[in-house]
Structures are given as C-alpha cells and as structure tokens.
Symmetry: C2
Subunit: 117 residues, 2 copies
C-alpha cells in the first residue's frame, strides 16, 4: 500500500506518463496498466478505477482519441487510444515543466543547514 505522500506525488504525473506511452503507438487501457506496472513497479501499479478516468479526461481535452476494435472470434472488444497532435505538444510542454520542477525542488533540498559563521 502506498503512503499518502506517494499518492500525492503522483498527481499530475500519471497524465504525462500515459501520454508518453501513447507516443510510441496506440494502446488499449488494460495494456497501459500493464506497461505502467512493468516500467514503474509498485509506485505505478494502477487499478482500473485510476487509469480509465485519466483516459476519459485526456480524450475530453482532445489530447488523445479512441476507437473500439471489432472483436475477432474469441476476443474481447478493446478500446484503443492514440495521441493527438495537441497531445504530443502538451506532452512536450509537461516534460519541460517536469524537468524544471524537479531540478528546482532537488536544488531546494540541497540547501545546507547554516552552521555558526
């Protein structure tokens, strides 16, 4: 079980990571869950109830688009998501901000304790 601190750190980042996965090629929701788990370990082992609403939100914002596949015999239907041009731009923006953000915070954590001078 993740600590509350870990849950909070993930805010915002999940959207960026989903866009990043879709940058490669189109994927369906459950596949994204598996790949996030594979790449991110426990920290990014999402329940369906976490991932799917992210996808709906991204689609609402036109950052991704989806299409259902006609299921072949003995296959469940899947909803494939792909990144849009707008989504690609947004992803690049978010990665830039992520770099600035983490460098800023890491810098602030390095400020040393003042000794007597």
């Amino acid at each position: 079980m993740l600590s509350n601190y870990e849950k909070q750190l993930k805010k915002g980042v999940l959207e960026m990571l989903v866009l990043k996965l879709l940058e490669r090629d189109e994927k369906y929701g459950y596949q994204i869950i598996l790949e996030l788990r594979e790449q991110g370990g426990e920290l990014f082992s999402l329940k369906e109830g976490t991932l799917y609403p992210i996808l709906y939100r991204l689609e609402e914002e036109n950052l991704v688009k989806s299409k259902w596949t006609a299921p072949k015999e003995k296959e469940t239907a899947r909803k494939y998501y792909s990144i849009t041009g707008e989504g690609q731009k947004e992803l690049e923006q978010q990665i830039l901000l992520w770099d600035i953000f983490t460098r800023t915070v890491t810098g602030m954590l390095k400020e040393e304790k003042h000794g007597a001078e």
Copy 2:
C-alpha cells in the same frame, strides 16, 4: 498564474520543503513564504492561504511545533515553528522517496519510441 499541471505537481512536495526549511532553524509562517519564494521562484510563491494550512497540518501530525513570541514594542506577534524529532525522521523518509520517485519517472520518460526492428 500557474498551470493546473504545475499545481498538481506541487502536491506533497510543499510539505517536504517546509520541513526542509525548518530543519535549519525555527521560522515563522510569513518568513517561510518569503524564503520559499526566494529559493523557488514563481513556482513556489505561495499565498498565505496555502502555507498556513500546511503548517497547521504538520503541527496536527506532530512533525512541527509552534510557539507565539511576546511582541516587543512596535512589533507584531509571530508564531514560530520548529521541526520535531518525528518531523526530522519524516523529512528524511520523504527525501528518500522523492529521489526514488523522480528517478523512476525520469526513467520512464526516457523510454525511447520503438522503431522497426
């Protein structure tokens, strides 16, 4: 004005940064606002309505403790916060997690697009 993405990224981190500032020496709320702004720029220019509730929460969790200063002549009273032993431990934990978290995410962002193989 910060983007929504930036607001979300800050979740969790502010608590850690406040603890970090208090690690050096005790400080009062308004002073913390000024130092965060100085070190963190626009990204960490907090309104009072953002900072003070963080301090109250930290105190509730016994990670910091506070004392009012008796105001000398022509001085407003200030509430000084200092970190507790528990707060110091929590800070170290959070910094460890922060490092793991950022390395994980940055690694996931570096996964290259698959070309044809």
